[in-house]
């Protein structure tokens, strides 16, 4: 489903990725772990087509995506990928339901249909009560579940989560992870999680440990 071959990426003089190679199968849940500065987020951004590696290849479904133009990669992210960040990803001015409906609306789906789908996801994630509230009125855990709903609403084949529980307390974090992993398993969605938290990594089928921009170890659950 998703492959990376000898990825290398530098920021100014800092080497973030130094020849990373990996393969992730369909429906697999993979955690990318490592100490701060080990290149976890950079790897996730390269896999998701958010940034391009300096060298190496990223393949999705057998097709290279690192050579695609910005427009093609954007379309790919909208149609096939979902992304969850640590915080700050919801538009504060939109209601929770509108935030979740955005990917569908940008894909030219009807307003009613998009909002209906959004509400249905909010129900699945047990935050239906927050549908008409704005992010500023929600707790961190509720906001993150809404972000999860937004990442899943368009039926992506892969969801990338960058420290999805980093800004939450352990209880809220656990709940978000339960739902994210539960939904991914139920729908057969591939999930790639970047985390430095062992409890989050424990949800994964496989853990890829990075150190100094290279794969240091792989552990299968």
């Amino acid at each position: 489903m998703l492959e990376a071959h000898t990825l290398r990426k530098t920021f100014a003089r800092t080497v973030a990725l130094d020849g990373v190679s990996l393969k992730i199968g369909a429906g697999e849940i993979v955690a990318i772990t490592g100490p701060s500065g080990s290149g976890k987020s950079t790897l996730l951004h390269c896999l998701a087509g958010i940034i391009r590696p300096d060298s190496g290849e990223v393949l999705f479904g057998g097709e290279r995506i690192d050579t695609l133009g910005e427009t093609e990669r954007t379309d790919l992210r909208r149609r096939s990928f979902g992304v969850v960040f640590q915080f700050g990803q919801l538009v504060p001015e939109l209601t929770a339901a509108e935030n979740v409906a955005l990917p569908l609306l940008f894909d030219r789906h009807g307003r009613r249909e998009s909002l209906r789908a959004a509400r249905s996801w909010l129900e699945r994630l047990d935050v239906a009560d927050c549908a008409d509230q704005r992010p500023g009125e929600l707790s961190g855990g509720q906001s993150q579940r809404i972000a999860v709903a937004r990442a899943l609403v368009a039926g992506p084949r892969v969801v990338f989560a960058d420290e999805p529980t980093g800004a939450l307390d352990s209880l809220a974090g656990e709940r978000v992870m339960d739902e994210l992993v539960g939904m991914a398993r139920a729908d057969g969605t591939t999930l790639v999680i970047v985390t430095h938290d062992n409890r989050v990594a424990a949800y994964a089928d496989r853990e890829i440990m990075l150190r100094d921009g290279a794969v240091a170890a792989e552990v299968t659950a």
Binding site: I50, I51, R78, F85, V91, E93, L94
Partner: protein
Amino acid sequence: MIAVIRMLARGESRHERVRGRLMVAGAALATFLLCAAVNLLQAEGDRLGAILSGDGNDVTALGLALLIVPVAAFVYQMSRLTGAARERRLAALRLAGATPRHVRLLGAYEGARRASLGGLTGVTLYLAVNLALSWVLDGALPLVSFVALPAVLAAVTLGGALSGLSPGRHVVISPLGVTRGVGPAGPRVLDLVLVVAGVGTFVAGYGGKGGFPLGGKYGGALAVVAGAVLLLFGLVLATAGLIRAAARWVGRRTRAAETLLAARLMEADPRSWARALSVIGLTVFFSSVVGAQQAIVFSADVPGTASLLTTYLLVDLALVVALATSSAALVAHQVEQLLDHRRSFAALTASGVPAPALGRVLTRQALIAALPVCLVAALAGTGIAVLGAVDLYGERPGAIGWTMTRAALTVLIGALTALLVAAAARRLLRRTVRLDEFHTE
């Protein structure tokens, strides 16, 4: 305190330095215009009498003084650029022991320093132009008084200091950081009071001609003028409410994600758009007034019509300058908006929302805000001018064509200005919305 200010000035980022230079340039322009207005007024003995008799110099002086309004709006918008960085800096200072009073003083000092620097530049520039013109015109233009210059400089510096007193926007700066209020202050019912009072006074004065109960034989005319002035200020205050209502209406009906996002962003903070568009609204208002006046005066064949052409030309020129200056303020507003929303926009881009779609959000915001503001301003301006002129010269059906055309053109130019600024900001959008906003390592 001075030592802290110097340290901060040394550590300014490139963007802050650019903002500072723009503020100095705005202050210089305001000083120049104020000096010109003072100089023209000096040329008259009985100023009030000259204004009432419609003397050209005083009308031009008034026009120049009024041009300070868009320049002030420009300086104000500039002062809001890089606000987030400044707020973080102030929060860090609070953590280091600065009191809220220190924070206000820092802002006032910064504003006064830049305003005085701009003021000195403006005075120097005006003195040079004044001397050159006096020499070319062989003394026809008097030299500006050396008493007036320090007064102008003091006024500009004071304005700068006052504008810097407030740390800015709807944020609370505490030692723990910068927090936004629950939500930006929305439009108030009070803002509509002036509109209602203005219309009421205008109608009472207009309808009660000859029999107006107050002010003797000029009572009716005074009520009409007072009503028009109240309506003008009321419209400026009500702009935020109008924008919010338009955004809410559009947001409830649209099917397009771009329009929904644009409408919701504006509904949440209509005041910033109102501030940016108020001068454009005023320009449209005055332009419509002038258009209706032109049409009626020329169709009425008033004696001395030819000499009015120069006056109207000057007024139109002043309106173009006002529009250009308010466009610059609008640019600053767009930059501020982009900086404010960069995280949300970056997240949307990472989720696969194409950059052109976000660009369309900007242009739709401009349309949703500018169209109603310009329409209402044109309607109010035309209405007041037509009623006043019909009272003086009688009904002139021949004047309707140009009045309506000019009003429509003015609305179009106002909305187009906002649209062009938004379209230009799309380039900036790509540079502002960077995906490394989410880069945690």
